[in-house]
Symmetry: C2
Subunit: 222 residues, 2 copies
């Protein structure tokens, strides 16, 4: 069976789980404690990071973006990267936006400070980082709202990897209770549509020891 | 004419210049002072960053990786992303390696501290960042040497975007005299092969006010 080496709250791993499920590709999940730097895992991915997808034929595909490009080439029946050249540019532009800009400005400052630091025993969250993270989150939620108000889905007329990349980050932040949905109604309406898709069920049933998600986390009518 | 909005020492811009030239696609260069946040430019790329490629039909493609994927789909005659699924995974894995890991561990710590800080009047280079950058550069040159010793090109049997991504970063660092090639002979031999390709000529003739590259920078037999 195809196996995804992952960590439950990693947005890049969640992105891949959503893409695999939307394409109806069955997979097993294997939690990888990347900080242990297992030699077998470093052989799969010298960068030592999750996600890594291992196909049944043994091909190891490391990294969220690399896996998404691979899946759309290997399993094109449910296309998630856009169809025309212009659509594909927009999907990849937004994928890049969420994987670099949102990741460094918001996710790293909030999830990184609150969860990763604790997991690795690196002390308490830094107040400046949290303030920067919450400030940038408001800006990004406004941008997502603007996209959702002007298009059917974030990158255009059809759901794509751009929606899943954004939803993956937001779902991890929602798990730790960091999103005030009432302040971003258009983003909330779009997120509710993504969240109610069958591909999202796996993420909503995730539980981690020591972290209790808020009551609305798994609620489709939040 | 197709136009690339760029900055001369930006490795992502250099990567795109190499890809365009290798594919023999003519283009004009337009320097974009991104720190001025021109409104017309923000309309092309809301992230406000170079590179942005604008096609003759007006399509704007922002970001090094997005442009490389686009070029290989729009102009497949000279393929640079690999042919088989496994080759494409390896090209994209290395592209990701250089654009995230090398960029943050080396380029940001050296080029960012020495050039970007001065350009933006943000003070002197930070000694700790420089030390970290030089330390990581040694590790990365060893990794490039290992790849170059075990394969014809970094990602496999044919030259690819992986070679150009690595060479783009190294060429920017070489411009500011930060690479001691004698300590990494296999990486040097591979870089000499990339540097001697016609697509590299434009980069080697770059000059910037206030920065003088070392004598070997444009020398093909360095």
């Amino acid at each position: 069976m195809r196996t995804l080496h992952h960590l439950p709250l990693s947005p890049q791993c969640r992105l891949v789980r959503l893409a695999l499920s939307e394409k109806r590709l069955p997979f097993d999940l294997a939690i990888e404690r990347v900080w242990e730097q297992r030699e077998d895992f470093l052989n799969l991915n010298p960068a030592g990071e999750v996600p890594v997808l291992v196909e049944e034929n043994g091909l190891a595909i490391p990294g969220g973006r690399v896996i998404c490009e691979y899946l759309d080439e290997a399993y094109p029946d449910v296309p998630l990267m856009g169809r025309t050249l212009a659509e594909r540019v927009e999907v990849r532009r937004l994928l890049d936006w969420f994987e670099t800009r949102f990741a460094s400005e918001v996710t790293q400052n909030l999830l990184g400070e609150k969860v990763d630091k604790r997991l690795h025993g690196r002390g308490h969250p830094d107040g400046n980082a949290l303030r920067a993270g919450y400030g940038c989150l408001r800006f990004h939620l406004d941008y997502i709202s603007w996209l959702a108000e002007t298009r059917s889905w974030l990158a255009g007329n059809t759901i794509s990897i751009a929606d899943f990349a954004a939803a993956a980050h937001l779902s991890s932040l929602d798990f730790i209770g960091d999103i005030t949905w009432a302040k971003a109604p258009a983003a909330k309406e779009w997120y509710a549509r993504v969240k109610s898709r069958p591909c999202f069920r796996g993420l909503l049933s995730d539980r981690m020891s020591g972290i209790m998600p808020p009551a609305h986390y798994a609620n489709l009518d939040f």
